[in-house]
Structures are given as C-alpha cells and as structure tokens.
Symmetry: C2
Subunit: 182 residues, 2 copies
Amino acid sequence: MRADAKRNRDRIVEVAREVFREHGYDASLDEIAKRAGVGAGTLYRHFPTRDALLDAIMQSWVDRVNEATEKALAFEGEDRELLIGWFETYASLISLHKGGPAKITSAMGNPDSPIVSKCQVLTAASQRVIDRLEADGALRADVDAVQVCQLVGGVATVADNADQPVSAVRPLLEVVADGMLR
Amino acid sequence: MRADAKRNRDRIVEVAREVFREHGYDASLDEIAKRAGVGAGTLYRHFPTRDALLDAIMQSWVDRVNEATEKALAFEGEDRELLIGWFETYASLISLHKGGPAKITSAMGNPDSPIVSKCQVLTAASQRVIDRLEADGALRADVDAVQVCQLVGGVATVADNADQPVSAVRPLLEVVADGMLR
DNA sequence: ACCTGAACACCGTTCAAGT
DNA sequence: ACCTGAACACCGTTCAAGT
C-alpha cells in the first residue's frame, strides 16, 4: 500500500471513531470523509460498506476486551457477583456508540457478518467466564456463550435505544444472572 | 373532519400497515403516500412524524393484545410454562414489523414517547400475568411489569435484528423466566 | 379546509478526470 | 495506484398554488 493511501486509511478510521461516538453508528459517511480531509470516493475505496469501517474501528478495541476479561476472571468473590460484573463489563464494551449494541448483537452467531471475528472475541471472552463458573458447579448445564452474549446484548440494546447508561439496566442483568445460575 | 380527509387518513393507515410489514419501520413514507394515492403533504398533515403513524397503526392492535392476555391467563398448568408462554406471546405482539421491537421497547417507560398509551397497554397486560404468578407465590418479589417488558423486548429485538422468528430465541426466554421465578 | 406535487435539502454511491 | 469531487439517485419535508 502506498504511503499516502495508508495515511488516509488511518486518518479515516480515527475520524470515524470520533464521529460514530458523537453521532452514533448512523452518522453521515460524507461527514467522516470531509473531517478526514479526503474525497468521498477515497472512503469508499478503503471501506466499501459501513460495516467494514466498523470492523476497522473495532481492531484496537479487541485489546480492551481481553484486558477486561482478565480483570473479570481475577475477581475473587461470589459467583453471582462475578457474573453480574461481567455482564456490566460486556454491556459497556459493546456500547461503543449509539447503535453499536444492536449492530454487534445482531451479528452474533451470524457467520456471514463482516464483523464475525470481533463477535468471536466477545463469545470467547464470555466462554472463559462461563467455564470458570461451570468449574464451580454454579451454572445450569444448558447455557452457551452465544446465548449469553445475545441476552446481555439484548439488555444493552434496551439501554442504548432508551439513551440510558448501562447502569440503568442493572436490575435486568440481575434477572438474567439468576436465570443462569443454579 | 371532512369526509375526504377521513377517507385519506384511513387509507394512509391501512397502506402504512402493509408497507411497514413489507419493508419494516424504516420504509419510505413517500411510497406509503404514493400507494395510498395521496400527495406527500397530505400524509404529513395527518401524521407529522413517523411515530404518529405508528401510533395510529397500533390502534386496532390493542384488541389483539387484550385477547392474547385473556388467553394466556386462562392457561391451566405450571407457572413456568405460563410465564414462558406469555413471553412468546408478548414477543410476537411487538414484532409487528422489522424495527418494531426496538421501537416499542425503547419507548417503554418513557412518558414522552408518542406511543406511550400503547406501551401502557402492554405493561398492564404483563402486570396481570405477574399478579397471577404472585398470587401463587411463584415470583421473586422484586420484578415489575416495565422490567419484564424491557427484558422480553430486548430478546425480541435480538430476534428481529437477526431476522429470525421469535421461536428461535425461546431458550433465552427460558433463562429470563427462570431468573424471575423462585 | 384540505389536497397536490414541485422544490429544496440531505445523504449515499459512483465514476470520469486528474496526479 | 490512488485521489478528488461533481453528478446522480433517493428520500424526507415544506409550501405555494389549486379545489
């Protein structure tokens, strides 16, 4: 890739992150191009779809997911608290910007989504939490990681749609946790 | 209201119901006007916002909610089955068209929403189911109707976003039910 | 009083011309 | 090889003119 192409690409991703945070996932791509100082065609050349741009944005976000997972697993205390804590972390992680929770959760379990690899990072993280609880014998046998991601994603979507912080839906997360635990 | 105005209004609602079912809640309002055989301005005169049109569509839908509630309450069997059955019914009721679950669920508990009255119909219905279960002593004390609507609405939104039928998310509804029951 | 539809604004997407 | 930005298409919304 040519140096100027790489520079443009990086700049677009950086600006997109900013604009998505400000205006949500439905933000104007034209504004992103303008703020990045490139023509509209350049944006489309690098990212043929809106989702491709989202995928690029989430590249650096993977590190944060892994960090948060380690932190959750290091928690020493009651299983219920661990689980609810992870739910809150998970919900926050997918609340990158308005429209994010719905976008990510609907991609969950869909192998054709342009952001599959990012969903896998999330399901893998949830799987690790589940494994830890399963080892404690604290879990009902029939829950899998994708279901957990969908459920918590659904709750996060509720909060996002209502323009409320994740903390506002904590009672819902507690119900979900209780439904999963023995 | 003049006779021709009423005729136009009714026609718009009827067509909107059809078009929303076909193309989801984001369908083009222009297409609705065209199919209804009215000018774009006429649609805007009767329904200044997209939500006002949705509210009108849901007018007749209220009867269906009440019917379904009676049917759910008439169920004789285990509490768990009753609750899961109601969840499935609820999820189907708010899946009027693509985008419906998110729209309705985000309006839940927001007094300024243009479709508040419709949300109240839903929460009242859920409250009746909750009351029945509470009388049986089957419920955890700390669940209210709005929370139930939000949780089940969140699950319905997951199904809707992934273009899947309500039946596909039944395992998630079971987890929610188990979280609510003693 | 109500309706029509042209006009405007806005945004996504493409592509010919330029470097 | 990559970029630009004008051009096109599409849709929401308004409003002057018509009945």
